[in-house]
């Protein structure tokens, strides 16, 4: 492939390394050394991850968790553009400001839909396994070029902004990856089998409605615990869906699977374990309550669980 995801890992690593460097050079930073160390540790897996033994990466992860846990990740001061200058710039550029912002999603869609199968001299243009990510990376670079050209600002300022937002996100940025890692470990340790064992052993599934409720609520609950509906699906469908709903009550497996997965998604809306959808956006929007997004989603998720129970019972 011509454009591999590896280049984007390096790019991300360099960005994090620059953030660490800027913090180190910032004498006014409240947590200068520990913050710099945190972002440096985060940069390493992106820069040289595949050359390191997994144990070393694991130790790095534990160290990052310790630094964050002891409150070592701080936020430096940032020189904002003067309010007047920012206002003038908004007035001057107007709708043109939307162009680079929209260029990111548009390039991602164009790349992942149209350039998916493009080959040059027999070599695929984009990393075939990661077309979306690679297109997104390209989109960001194109958008950065456009943004610098339109605002007449420099790429160095863009790096300062990247550092500002990285620091605003803070440790929350690492959480999705940590949770994905925990999910893998849960799988290897057999947490899924244990949960399925508990639900199927202690609940009486002799009534169709009870069986439907156990499946729907079980998918949601299990997703709340694992943070991911994909992890819950095999466990609950293998434990309750296939043997009971299809096997005993003769349900339509397509209906069961579709509604089951959606029930898992209701769980995703309610759990801090799905950090990239719930905790990171709260950090991105600089909300003081990290659970604010979950609270906003909770009523929709609960109502949809009820809807799913009714739909599955009726349509199955």
């Amino acid at each position: 492939m011509i454009i591999s995801i590896q280049y984007l890992y390096w790019l991300a690593g360099v960005l994090l390394l620059i953030t660490a460097g800027m913090i180190l050079a910032d004498r006014t930073h409240p947590k200068r050394w520990s913050s710099a160390l945190f972002w440096l540790l985060f940069a390493i897996p992106f820069l040289v991850g595949e050359h390191l033994p997994s144990v070393v990466v694991g130790v790095g992860v534990v160290l990052m968790a310790l630094i964050a846990g002891l409150g070592g990740v701080g936020r430096g001061a940032h020189v904002e553009l003067h309010d007047k200058a920012s206002r003038a710039s908004a007035g001057r550029l107007g709708h043109k400001l939307f162009i680079p912002a929209l260029a990111i999603p548009l390039t991602t869609v164009i790349g992942s839909v149209l350039l998916k199968n493009v080959e040059i001299g027999g070599v695929p243009l984009l990393d075939p396994k990661n077309t979306t990510f690679v297109s997104l990376g390209l989109g960001c670079l194109i958008a950065l070029g456009l943004a610098c050209w339109l605002t007449r600002d420099t790429p160095v300022q863009a790096l300062r902004e990247s550092r500002r937002l990285t620091e605003a996100l803070g440790w929350a940025m690492v959480l999705p990856q940590m949770l994905a890692m925990l999910g893998l470990l849960f799988n290897e340790a057999g947490v899924g089998t244990a949960v399925a064992h508990v639900t199927t052993t202690y609940i009486n599934l002799d009534y169709k409605l009870v069986a439907v409720m156990v499946y729907v609520l079980g998918m949601a609950l299990f997703t709340v615990i694992m943070g991911n509906g994909f992890a819950a699906f095999p466990v609950m469908t293998g434990g309750v869906g296939v043997p009971v709903l299809v096997g005993i009550y003769g349900g339509n497996p397509a209906v069961m699977a579709a509604i089951g997965m959606f029930s898992g998604y209701c769980g995703t809306l309610m759990t801090p374990m799905a950090a990239n959808f719930n905790i990171v956006p709260a950090a991105l929007l600089e909300l003081p309550d990290k659970n604010a997004v979950i609270k906003a989603q909770m009523p929709t998720a609960l109502m949809m669980l009820l809807v799913n129970i009714v739909l599955l019972y009726v349509l199955m």
């Binding site: 790019l11 908004a90 912002a101 990247s162 940590m178 497996p253 509604i259 604010a292 929709t300």
Partner: protein, 241 residues
């Protein structure tokens, strides 16, 4: 009966629940849960650390979505992107937070259902565009928002993006989750067309749109009630003095 199942790994779940409830730093909670689960499953420490390292490396792509757009978004914000988005939406007479978000929900859910999941998202769409627009729509009606209300509006923007994405993507037949369901059912000896799984998701997807749209509509009414009720109350005592 089946072979004895080791229930000890559930201790990891307990660590997570207790840790989140007691509000310890989540990174610390997750790490503690990982180590506890590993020990409960009789893994040696080295294997626990290696599994953690592997997992961290395998999921690096997740980080790209968040990290790479930051430079562009930050630069545009410096030059007034949020301000412009706010001013622009304020030009529409009938714009409200609820109406804006209902339209966004519709577009997000229907494009995701066509497989265009990357058209939205928190770093590239919600923070730079949707959130300032919602804020602009609210400020046009009610003036400067109290922080508490402002945070609720922003959280609702993020929530709407999630609801639209989740209930849209799963009725796109080439989506990964459909493939996962299909493969799993095949493994259990049931052959279902992926298209059927996608089609049977549609009733839930439609209900999700209706449920969330009704909530957004009521969110508008609540904003009106709260903000028009509190505004005169906070002014009156001063006027009385």
């Amino acid at each position: 009966m089946q072979t004895v199942v080791n229930l000890w790994p559930l201790i990891g779940v307990l660590v997570i629940v207790v840790g989140f409830v007691l509000r310890f730093n989540p990174l610390l909670v997750v790490t503690a849960a990982a180590i506890a689960t590993g020990f409960a499953a009789h893994f040696p420490l080295e294997k626990i650390l290696a599994t953690m390292g592997d997992g961290f490396l395998q999921t690096r792509a997740l980080q790209l979505i968040l990290l790479l757009p930051l430079a562009v978004i930050g630069l545009l914000e410096r030059h007034g992107l949020r301000l412009h988005a706010q001013n622009w939406i304020a030009r529409f007479e009938r714009a409200t937070v609820g109406r804006l978000l209902i339209i966004y929900l519709f577009v997000r859910e229907s494009t995701a259902a066509m497989g265009l999941t990357s058209l939205g998202g928190h770093p590239q769409m919600v923070r730079p565009l949707l959130a300032p627009m919602a804020e602009g729509a609210a400020e046009k009606r009610f003036g400067k928002l109290p922080d508490k209300v402002r945070h609720k509006v922003l959280a609702m923007c993020a929530a709407t993006d999630n609801v639209g994405l989740f209930f849209g993507e799963d009725i796109f037949v080439a989506f990964g989750a459909i493939a996962l369901m299909h493969t799993f059912l095949l493994g259990s000896g049931i052959d279902v067309e992926p298209l059927h799984i996608a089609v049977w998701g549609i009733p839930t997807a439609i209900c999700a749109f209706i449920v969330h749209a009704i909530r957004l509509h009521r969110f508008d009414r609540r904003l009106t009630r709260e903000l028009t009720a509190t505004a005169p109350a906070s002014v009156q005592p001063e006027a009385a003095q």
